[in-house]
């Protein structure tokens, strides 16, 4: 399956891009994806972020649907 991964704010700054696609050989949960992201981008270990899957905040047990849009969201600052 192909995942679109979006990075925002200080997370985009940390990983040096705002968008990429990942080919995943087999299904995984949000928690498993988060672990892979931390492995690829160690800078994320020191930064707070939440994972959204298809525009909804996801807990770690959530199975990621095929073709999902994943977003790494740093702390919100609206207002």
């Amino acid at each position: 399956m192909t995942l679109s991964i979006l990075y925002f704010g200080m997370i985009a700054e940390g990983v040096g891009q705002s968008f990429e696609t990942w080919q995943m050989p087999e299904p995984l949960t949000a928690g498993q994806l988060k672990a892979q992201l931390l492995e690829k981008y160690p800078v994320l270990r020191d930064r707070k972020f939440q994972l959204a899957v298809n525009h909804q905040l996801a807990d770690e047990a959530l199975p990621i649907p095929p073709q999902a849009e994943i977003a790494l969201l740093p702390p919100f600052a609206g207002g």
């Binding site: 925002f8 704010g9 707070k48 969201l73 919100f76 600052a77 609206g78 207002g79």
Partner: protein, 148 residues
């Protein structure tokens, strides 16, 4: 006014006093309204280690933010006796002293406007994926804002 109508929330740059006054004027024909309450978020010149905040550069995850704004609107109409509600938030650079958030609620009576306004502003701060880069001094330094 239907609460189902999708609303455009984001505006580029600061929200001008003229825009706010136009918005107030548009309600003169809605004669069932007896009370309005307005919240304006203004950029504050906080002193940070690297310098004084001169502005905030806002960005967002618009596709998700629009959905969250919609949920907040629906919940507010559900909880409070409101005639109408308008929410505007800036994207891009908003200099210090200018307005980045404009929330405008109207009701036949005052009490629901006070309660709804606080509810809506707190929900926006906690739940909408908006990000803010605080620009510091004139050296190009910046810090990422985080709502508490």
């Amino acid at each position: 006014m239907s609460s189902k109508t999708p609303k455009k929330v984001f505006v580029e740059g600061p929200i001008s006093p003229a825009f706010i006054s136009d918005s107030i004027a548009k309600h003169q024909s809605k004669t069932n309204i007896g009370a309005h309450a307005i919240f304006l978020g203004q950029i504050r010149a906080d002193q940070k280690e690297e310098g004084v905040v001169t502005g905030i550069d806002y960005s967002a995850y618009p596709e998700m933010a629009e959905g969250v704004f919609h949920q907040i609107r629906e919940a507010a109409f559900e909880k409070f006796e409101l005639s109408c509600m308008h929410i505007y938030h800036s994207l891009g650079l908003v200099p210090v002293g200018e307005i980045s958030l404009f929330v405008f609620v109207s009701s036949p009576h005052r009490r629901p406007t006070f309660e709804a306004l606080e509810y809506i502003v707190e929900e926006i701060k906690a739940k909408v994926p908006i990000f803010g880069k605080e620009l510091l001094g004139d050296s190009g330094a910046f810090a990422w804002k985080e709502n508490s």
